[in-house]
């Protein structure tokens, strides 16, 4: 097998295993109760189980794996961050937000259930994430658990993902320059991707001054990820993407693509991924999965 072939197979195996593990954890931690809350839990399960690229769990588990973290701990923390991602998708898809009907190849939660249930299912997955992290089963060390919660809270609130979503809404009418678009994307997508890597490092008890290269890696793949998302929205096929495409252009939204053009945007994404891989230079083969994830990010079509 070629080197690229080895990396592909490493990534494919890791993805398949992590998909099973994340689905199994959601399934175990979200049993459907025998009362009027059943519909809420069913909506949470509908959105959380099956489908999705599981990029954040992959990043978290791959980072934790470099530092010998117990697999069950990493999977629980990965399920928590994926719960945050899923809640943000449910709320993003609401009629008052992006008004999307298709997500991960199936009707969005407010279509399959109803809007009120979608709001509550998102809110419940949000709380679920912190419940999972705070549980001693995630890690016996309370320092680690509370630091995981801190990192996830910071990455998902007004100074992270939600703040980026707000800027994204403003971007539909405002004139943003490349600096502001970069900042927007660092918050909207980058913060949570960065938290995935950071949470892996927290579980691995990597000291703060030993994480600089990981921050660099996460920052670069975060931006590359968003540029590729823009390209998929521009050129992609809804049936492959599993969600509506062409929405940014319809909304007249400024993105990396409108500012750079497709060719330069693609080049920039490649550059960022090369740079991300360089950050891992101090690591040997234990970082191969993180390297393969970086490559996957620009090669994906959905």
């Amino acid at each position: 097998m070629t080197m690229a072939g080895v990396a592909d197979s490493l990534l494919a195996d890791a993805r398949a295993r992590i998909e099973r593990e994340i689905d199994a954890t959601f399934d175990r931690l979200l049993p459907v109760p025998d009362d009027a809350r059943a519909r809420l839990i069913e909506a949470m399960r509908y959105a959380a189980i099956g489908g999705g690229k599981r990029v954040r769990p992959l990043l978290l588990i791959a980072t934790a794996g470099m530092y010998g973290v117990d697999r069950d701990s990493a999977v629980r923390a990965a399920t928590a961050i994926e719960a945050i991602h899923v809640y943000s998708l449910i709320h993003d898809d609401l009629p008052c937000m992006d008004d999307d009907g298709l997500r991960r190849g199936k009707p969005t939660v407010h279509i399959a259930f109803d809007e009120a249930t979608a709001v509550l299912a998102g809110d419940s997955l949000h709380a679920f994430a912190f419940e999972v992290l705070a549980d001693p089963q995630t890690c016996a060390d309370p320092f680690v658990r509370v630091d995981l919660a801190r990192a996830l809270g910071a990455a998902s609130g007004a100074h992270g993902m939600a703040g980026g979503q707000m800027m994204d809404m403003v971007a539909e009418t405002a004139e943003f320059d490349l600096h502001t678009i970069t900042r927007l994307q660092q918050l909207k997508t980058g913060a949570l991707l960065g938290a995935a890597v950071e949470m892996g490092a927290i579980l691995g008890k990597v000291p703060h001054d030993g994480r600089t290269h990981l921050h660099g890696y996460a920052r670069d793949i975060g931006l590359a990820f968003q540029i590729v998302d823009d390209l998929i929205d521009h050129e992609g096929d809804a049936s492959i993407a599993g969600k509506a495409v062409g929405k940014d252009e319809q909304a007249g939204k400024q993105t990396f693509l409108t500012l750079l053009g497709a060719e330069r945007a693609r080049e920039q994404a490649r550059l960022l991924v090369d740079q991300a891989v360089e950050h891992l230079g101090q690591h040997g083969s234990e970082a191969d999965l993180l390297r393969a994830i970086a490559r996957y990010i620009i090669e994906r079509d959905h």
Copy 2:
């Protein structure tokens, strides 16, 4: 001064001080940034600062006070639980939920701003709560911080407040008996009121087996609080309540009131408050504020 007068003044002083402290903490922790996120933070501040009964902060700080907890710690934890309460009000008021235009005497967030901003402001306050709890400034002991996050997560998600809201939605069309309505209210309102008391006990490092009476107190005032809410919705004046009234009846929703009638409901609330106060029998004057809060809960008109 009479005994009742002393209790009134104790409560009035505590409320005034806590209102100032909670407002000041939100103000300090939510500075408006000089970028496109400004609108989001302004919406969070609009909903969180000024107004509201601050019942959850009162309960948390009163409980923590019994155990000599550092005031700054208690105020930070109280701000976190109030942030969860405020986020739930913002989302509850959305057109797809209760569709309310008035809250705390002013237009709801989706009216004063817009629906998408309201969704994001709620989500951001949700994350903010866990960020605040996880911060070492809340308490140096990581065990305490992570236990606060655990308690708040459990009380606000599908097995707490959000689950109760789901049951409440189902209650508009289903036939619920008194047992189910009680369960609904224990989740919808009782869980977060209970968490306020529990978080005070966590900060006070009260051992689990020393909290039974506090759980009893919290459970009883939680139900009494909801019965009084139903009575205010039934008999209240929107200008005093600061929110729309008469909505339950319009929606044909079953409540304690429809099942018990106003007279028996009021009697039941009084009974619960007496019972709540009895749970505090082992405490001396240090529990006077909790006793006064219990009395206030049935005497309030909003």
